[in-house]
C-alpha cells in the first residue's frame, strides 16, 4: 500500500459538464457499462475509470461526472481544476440547457486559463428528434464560434457515445504530447517566469 503503483498507461482526465438532466451520467454509464439508466437521479460527483485501446495504445480514461444542478455551482471550480478535457453536454430537447453551456464554457476557461483546453460540445438525446428544440445549425454555430467540435449523441441508442469519449481523449493525448515537447525543448513556460517576480521580501 505504501508503494507507488507502477502505471505505465497514460491517464486522461475527462470531466462531464452541463446542466442538470441533460444526460451526463447517462452518457457516462452508457460508455462505461453499456447500459441505459431510465430513471433520473441527480448526480453529486461520480468517478469512473476505464481502460481502453486508443489508436493502438492502452490508455486509461478517468471520468468525473459532475453535478449539473445549480446548487453545486460553487464546488465546480475545484473539480474543473483537475480536468484535462471537457465534455460539455446539453439536451437538444431543452433550450435552457443550451443557453447554460455558455456559462460552463466561461467558467472552464476561467479556471483552466487556457483557450485551447480539449473541449467537445455534445448535444445529447438525439433519439428524441421529434422534441428537438435546439437546431443542429444553431449548436454547430456555437461550436464553431468557440472553435470546438460539435457532436450529437444519444445515450439511449449509444449513438456517438464512444466517439465523443474517444475524440476527446485523443485530443487530450495530443495536447499532452505537444506540452511535453515544448517544456522539454524550450525551458520553462511563461507562467513560471512570471512567478519570479512574486517573491515577497
Amino acid at each position: 500500500m505504501a508503494k507507488k503503483p507502477v502505471s505505465p498507461e497514460a491517464l486522461h482526465k475527462v470531466i462531464m459538464v452541463g446542466s442538470g438532466g441533460v444526460g451526463k451520467s447517462a452518457l457516462t454509464l452508457q460508455f462505461m457499462y453499456d447500459e441505459f439508466v431510465e430513471n433520473y437521479e441527480p448526480t453529486k460527483a461520480d468517478s469512473y475509470r476505464k481502460e481502453v485501446v486508443l489508436d493502438g495504445e492502452e490508455v486509461q480514461i478517468d471520468i468525473l461526472d459532475t453535478a449539473g444542478q445549480e446548487d453545486y455551482a460553487a464546488i465546480r471550480d475545484n473539480y474543473f481544476r483537475s480536468g484535462e478535457g471537457f465534455l460539455c453536454v446539453f439536451s437538444i430537447t431543452e433550450d435552457e440547457s443550451f443557453q447554460a453551456i455558455q456559462e460552463f464554457r466561461e467558467q472552464i476557461l476561467r479556471v483552466k486559463n487556457d483557450e485551447n483546453i480539449p473541449f467537445l460540445l455534445v448535444g445529447n438525446k438525439g433519439d428524441l428528434q421529434d422534441r428537438r428544440k435546439v437546431s443542429y445549425a444553431e449548436a454547430q454555430g456555437r461550436a464553431q464560434q468557440w472553435g470546438v467540435p460539435y457532436v450529437e449523441t444519444s445515450a439511449k441508442t449509444r449513438e456517438n457515445v464512444d466517439k465523443v469519449f474517444f475524440d476527446l481523449t485523443r485530443e487530450i493525448r495530443s495536447r499532452k504530447m505537444e506540452d511535453t515537447k515544448t517544456s522539454n525543448g524550450g525551458g520553462k513556460d511563461k507562467s513560471k517566469r512570471k512567478k519570479l517576480k512574486c517573491i515577497i521580501l
Binding site: M1, A2, K4, P5, S25, M32, Y33, N39, T43, K44, A45, D46, S47, Y48, R49, K50, E51, Q60, D62, L64, D65, D71, A74, R81, S82, N113, K188, S191, K192, K194, K195, L196, C198, I199, I200, L201
Partner: protein
C-alpha cells in the same frame, strides 16, 4: 477461480459517513452471497452492501476519512482492486452550507468564533516561506501525495506534519532559487524572533529590575494588609462587580430587548426570504393548477418534499400541511379527470403520469383502464339498445322522422347486384353493426395502448402481479361483447335466444343483402385489431366471428342465388337460338350468368382470406356446406327445367298425328303462337344437354379460377340428375310422339273399309304407309334435327321400332289376303322397311321380317315382279323426301 473483482466506478466519489454509494465494476460476485468483503476507505461496509449484479453493488460509506480505495472481496475471485477512490469527510454545517435542517445561527456564531483562530484556513493565508501561492494554479495531485507520504499530512498544525508534502502541495512549481530565498526568509524570521527577546531584555534591564522591585514591594504590602485586616478583599470586589453588572443590565435591558426583538424579526424575515419558495407554494400550486401546468406543480411539490419533508419546524409543517391539502385536492381533481372520456389518450396518459408523480395511493393507470373498458362496454350496449329502439319504432311505422334521418345518414348503397329490390333504407341491424365496428375501432385502440403503456412501465407504477391477467380478461370480455353484439345482429343462429335481435324474422331478409357490406365493416375493425398486435386469444374470438360471418354470408348468397334459379323457369320465353350444336333458349345462359355472378360475389367477399384469416374452404364443414350449396344451386336449375319440361299445362295433348283423320287441326292452331308441348320438351332437353356438356366444364373452369376447391362431387351428382332428367324427357317425348302415331296406323290402314282380301292390284304404296313415312316420321325427324341433331337417331329408331312392332301386329291380324292384297301388303311393308333401314334396330328388323312372314308367300314370279316395280317407282318418285333417312347420324 473467477477473475478478481475490479472497481472502476463510484457514485458519488465523496461524501460524509453514511453516504449511499453505488459501486460499479466487473466480477463483483456472482451471487449476493459471493460478495464476502467490502471496504471503503479502510472501513468495513459489507454489512450495508447490497449486491445488485456482478457489475453493481450499493453500500453506505463508513466512518473512514480522506481518500481511500474501494476493495471488494468475492468468494470466487478473491481480493479485488480499485481504479477509483472514495473520499470521506466530516461535514460541518456552516453559514455557507445549505442544509435541509434549520440551523440555529446564533449558537453557530459563538461556536465558530471560539474555534476560528484554530481553523487551518487562517493559517494558509500566510505562507511560512513568504512566497506567493496566488499564481500557483496547478495543484499537485492529492492522491500522489498520499502515496508519497503515507500516514502524513501537509497541515502545518498537524502532529504528523511532513515538510515534503507541504512543499509539494504548495510550492511544487516554485523554482529552486525561490525556495532558497524562502528558506532564508523563514530562518530570518525565526532568528528575528529569538534575537528579539534577548536584545529587548538587554536594553531594558533597568526598568525590568525596577518592575521586579515594585512587584516585591507589592507582595510585601499585600501580605501586610492581609495580616492587618484578615478579610479576603475579593469579596468586596465581587460585590462591587455584581452590583455594577446589575446596574449595567438595568441600563441596557431595554436596548438589549429591542435588539433581541429586532434579531428575531430579522431572523423571521430571513427565514421567509430563504424559504419563500415554500411559503408561496400553496398559492403557486393553485395558480398553476388553474393554468393547467400540472408538471410545474409536481416539480415544486417534489422539491418542497425534498427540502422540507423531514422538517421539525412547526411553521414549515403548517405550510406543508396546507400544501398537502392542495395536492390532495389536485389529486382528487385529476382522479376525476380520469373518468372523463372526452379527453384524448395523450391527455389521459399525461394525467396518469401526473397522478403517479403525485404519489397517489391508488393505481391511476389501472383506474383509467377500468374507466376505459367500462365506457367502451356501456357505449357498445347503448348502441345496441338505441338501434333496437329505433327498429321497434320503425316497425310501428310511426317514426317517419327517424326514418328519413337514417336515410340521410346512410345514403351509401349496399354492394352487389342483389339489391335490385333493395329497400331504400338500411336496416337497423346493419346500422348497428356499422356503429359497433366504428366504436370498436375508435375506442378500443386507446384502451389497448393505455394498457400497453401501463404494463410496459411507462407510468412507473408498480403493477400487481394479477393485473396482466385481469387486463387480458377485460380485453377478452370487450372483444367477446362486441362479437356477441355483432353476432346477435347478423348471425342470430350463433347466439342464445335471449341475446338475439328481436323481430328478427322480419328483418333477416333485408339484412342478408347487406351481409357483404357488414362483412367489410367488420373486417376493417378486425384489421385495426390486428394492427394493435393483440394477443391471439382476443384475435381468435374475433376471427371466429369473421369466419362464421363469412360462412353465413356465403351460404346466404348461395341460397339467394338458388332461390332465384328456382324461379328462373318463369322467365322462359321459348325463343330458340340456334348454333352449330342445335338450339337452346336463353335459359342456360341466364343460369350461367347468375351462377358466375354469385360466385364472383362470394369470392370477392368471402373466399379471399384477408389478414390473419384462414381460407374459408380449408374448414371441412365450410367445404361441405359449399358443396351442398353448389349442388343445391345446380339441382334447383334441374328442378326448374324439370318443371318447365314435364309440366303439361296445356292439358290436352292427344295430338292428332293423322291428317287423314283430321283430329289435330285444333291443336295445330293453338300452337301457332307458342311452342307446342313436344317442342318445349325438346327445348328443355336441349337446354339440359347444353348445360351439362357446355356450361358445366365452364363452371368448373370458373370455380378453379376463383380459387374454389375441386367441386367434383356436386357436379357429378348434378350431372347425374341432368342425365336422369334428360332420359325422362326423352322418354316422354318419344312416348308423346309414338303413341298417337302408332294409334293412327290401324285406323288409317282400314280407312274406307279397306280389306286386304278385296283389293285392287297395287300401283303405289298405300296412304297409311305414306303417312307413316312422310307426315309422321319425317316431321319428327325435322323437329328433332332442328333442335338437337345428335338425338335424331335415338328418337327415330325408337319410333321405327314401335311402328314395326305395330305393323307386325296388324299383319298378323289379317285373316285373308287376295293376290293383290298380298302384293299391296308386301309393297307397303318393304317400302317402309327400306326407307327406314338406316334407323332400324335389331328389334325393328325382326319385327319387319315377322310382318313379312305373316303374309302368305307369293309363288308366282310375275306377282313378285309387280311388287318390285311398284317399289322402284315409289323410291324414284320420293327420292328427295327420303334422302333425310339416308344418313342416320
Amino acid at each position: 477461480m473467477a477473475p478478481a473483482p475490479v472497481v472502476n466506478g463510484i457514485s458519488p466519489k465523496e461524501g460524509p459517513p453514511g453516504t449511499r454509494v453505488t459501486i460499479r465494476g466487473q466480477h463483483l460476485g456472482k451471487t449476493p452471497n459471493d460478495l464476502i468483503g467490502l471496504t471503503i476507505c479502510g472501513s468495513d461496509c459489507l454489512l450495508s452492501a447490497e449486491w445488485k449484479s456482478p457489475n453493481k453493488v450499493i453500500a453506505r460509506s463508513g466512518p473512514g476519512k480522506g481518500r481511500g480505495e474501494i476493495i471488494v472481496v468475492t468468494g470466487s475471485g478473491g481480493i479485488g482492486t480499485s481504479l477509483v477512490q472514495f473520499r470521506g469527510y466530516h461535514e460541518t454545517i456552516g453559514p455557507l452550507k445549505e442544509s435541509a435542517v434549520w440551523v440555529e445561527e446564533a449558537s453557530l456564531n459563538t461556536l465558530t468564533w471560539g474555534h476560528r483562530s484554530l481553523s487551518p484556513s487562517s493559517y494558509q493565508l500566510e505562507d511560512p516561506l513568504g512566497l506567493s501561492v496566488e499564481e500557483n494554479e496547478k495543484k499537485f495531485p492529492e492522491e500522489d501525495l498520499h502515496e508519497l507520504f503515507p500516514e502524513c499530512s501537509g497541515d502545518l498544525s498537524s502532529e504528523n506534519f511532513e515538510p515534503g508534502w507541504f512543499l509539494l502541495e504548495h510550492h511544487h512549481a516554485t523554482s529552486f532559487d525561490d525556495l532558497r530565498v524562502g528558506l532564508s526568509f523563514l530562518r530570518r524570521k525565526v532568528e528575528g524572533q529569538k534575537e528579539g527577546q534577548i536584545s529587548f531584555l538587554k536594553s531594558n534591564i533597568g526598568s525590568v529590575m525596577e518592575q521586579l522591585d515594585t512587584l516585591f514591594i507589592l507582595k510585601e504590602k499585600f501580605e501586610a494588609d492581609l495580616k492587618a485586616r484578615d478579610i479576603d478583599p475579593t469579596i468586596k470586589v465581587e460585590k462591587a462587580i455584581e452590583e455594577s453588572i446589575s446596574e449595567a443590565e438595568k441600563l441596557f435591558h431595554d436596548v438589549l430587548a429591542r435588539r433581541e426583538k429586532a434579531d428575531a424579526t430579522r431572523n423571521a424575515l430571513n427565514v421567509m426570504q430563504r424559504f419563500k419558495f415554500l411559503f408561496y407554494l400553496p398559492g403557486s400550486i393553485e395558480r398553476n393548477v388553474k393554468k393547467g401546468e400540472i408538471d410545474v406543480v409536481i416539480n415544486d411539490y417534489d422539491r418542497a418534499l425534498n427540502l422540507f419533508g423531514k422538517t421539525d419546524v412547526a411553521v414549515f409543517k403548517k405550510v406543508l400541511a396546507e400544501v398537502e391539502l392542495k395536492i390532495s385536492e389536485l389529486r382528487e381533481m385529476l382522479w376525476k379527470k380520469l373518468e372523463d372520456m372526452s379527453i384524448g389518450l395523450d391527455q389521459q396518459k399525461k394525467t396518469i403520469r401526473n397522478l403517479v408523480n403525485l404519489e397517489i395511493a391508488d393505481d391511476p393507470g389501472w383506474k383509467a383502464i377500468t374507466v376505459h373498458s367500462n365506457f367502451l362496454n356501456e357505449q357498445l350496449i347503448a348502441c345496441k339498445t338505441e338501434h333496437l329502439k329505433a327498429e321497434s319504432a320503425d316497425m310501428d311505422g310511426s317514426s317517419k322522422h327517424l326514418d328519413s334521418h337514417h336515410k340521410h345518414k346512410h345514403k351509401r348503397a349496399a354492394s352487389g347486384t342483389y339489391n335490385v329490390e333493395l329497400l331504400n333504407r338500411t336496416p337497423q341491424p346493419v346500422l348497428c353493426v356499422e356503429e359497433l365496428t366504428e366504436i370498436l375501432s375508435q375506442r378500443f385502440p386507446d384502451l389497448w395502448k393505455l394498457g400497453q403503456s401501463y404494463f410496459s412501465g411507462e407510468f412507473q407504477i408498480k403493477i400487481d402481479p394479477g393485473r396482466p391477467q385481469e387486463f387480458k380478461g377485460i380485453v377478452l370480455s370487450i372483444i367477446s361483447l362486441v362479437c356477441t353484439l355483432l353476432r346477435s345482429a347478423l348471425l342470430p343462429h350463433t347466439v342464445d335466444k335471449n341475446q338475439q335481435w328481436p323481430q328478427h324474422h322480419k328483418t333477416s331478409d333485408s339484412v342478408s343483402t347487406w351481409l357483404p357490406h357488414c362483412l367489410r365493416y367488420i373486417r376493417a375493425a378486425y384489421s385495426t385489431l390486428i394492427a394493435l398486435d393483440l394477443p391471439s386469444d382476443a384475435l381468435n374470438i374475433f376471427s371466429s366471428l369473421v369466419f362464421d360471418l363469412r360462412l353465413h354470408c356465403m351460404s346466404t348468397l348461395l341460397c339467394q342465388a338458388a332461390e332465384q334459379i328456382k324461379t328462373l323457369g318463369l322467365k322462359e320465353n321459348w325463343q330458340i337460338e340456334f348454333d352449330q350444336n342445335g338450339g337452346i333458349t336463353q335459359l342456360p345462359s341466364m343460369f350461367e350468368n347468375l351462377v358466375a355472378e354469385v360466385m364472383q360475389l362470394v369470392k370477392d367477399s368471402v373466399i379471399i382470406a384477408e389478414q390473419r384469416e384462414t381460407p374459408l374452404l380449408d374448414n371441412p364443414a365450410a367445404k361441405k356446406d359449399l358443396n351442398r350449396l353448389v349442388l343445391k344451386l345446380l339441382l334447383n336449375f334441374v328442378e326448374a327445367l324439370d318443371n318447365l319440361g314435364l309440366t303439361n299445362e296445356d292439358g290436352d295433348h292427344t295430338l292428332g298425328v293423322s291428317q287423314l283423320i283430321g283430329s289435330s287441326s285444333q291443336s295445330r292452331d293453338k300452337d301457332s303462337f307458342g311452342a307446342v308441348y313436344e317442342q318445349k320438351l325438346l327445348c328443355t332437353l336441349s337446354n339440359c344437354r347444353h348445360t351439362r356438356l357446355t356450361i358445366f366444364p365452364r363452371f368448373i373452369n370458373l370455380f378453379e379460377r376463383h380459387g374454389f376447391p375441386r367441386l367434383s362431387e356436386p357436379f357429378e351428382e348434378a350431372e347425374m340428375a341432368f342425365k336422369h332428367l334428360e332420359k325422362r324427357i326423352l322418354d316422354t317425348y318419344i312416348e308423346q310422339k309414338s303413341d298417337p302415331l302408332v294409334g293412327t296406323i290401324e285406323p288409317s290402314m282400314y280407312i274406307g273399309n279397306f280389306d286386304w282380301d278385296t283389293c285392287l292390284p297395287p300401283t303405289d304404296i298405300r296412304p297409311y304407309a305414306k303417312e307413316i313415312i312422310f307426315s309422321n316420321i319425317i316431321t319428327v325427324h325435322s323437329e328433332v334435327y332442328k333442335v338437337i341433331p345428335s338425338l335424331v337417331y335415338p328418337v327415330i329408331s325408337q319410333i321405327v321400332e314401335i311402328v314395326a312392332e305395330e305393323l307386325s301386329r296388324l299383319m298378323s291380324c289379317v285373316t285373308k289376303f287376295s293376290i293383290a292384297g298380298n302384293q299391296q301388303a308386301r309393297i307397303d311393308i318393304m317400302a317402309i322397311q327400306q326407307t327406314l333401314q338406316h334407323f332400324s334396330t335389331k328389334n325393328a328388323v325382326l319385327y319387319f321380317n315377322e310382318a313379312l312372314e305373316t303374309i302368305p308367300p307369293l309363288d308366282d314370279p310375275f306377282d313378285l315382279k309387280v311388287v318390285d316395280e311398284v317399289l322402284k317407282k315409289f323410291t324414284a318418285r320420293n327420292k328427295l323426301q327420303l334422302k333425310c333417312f339416308n344418313n342416320p347420324s
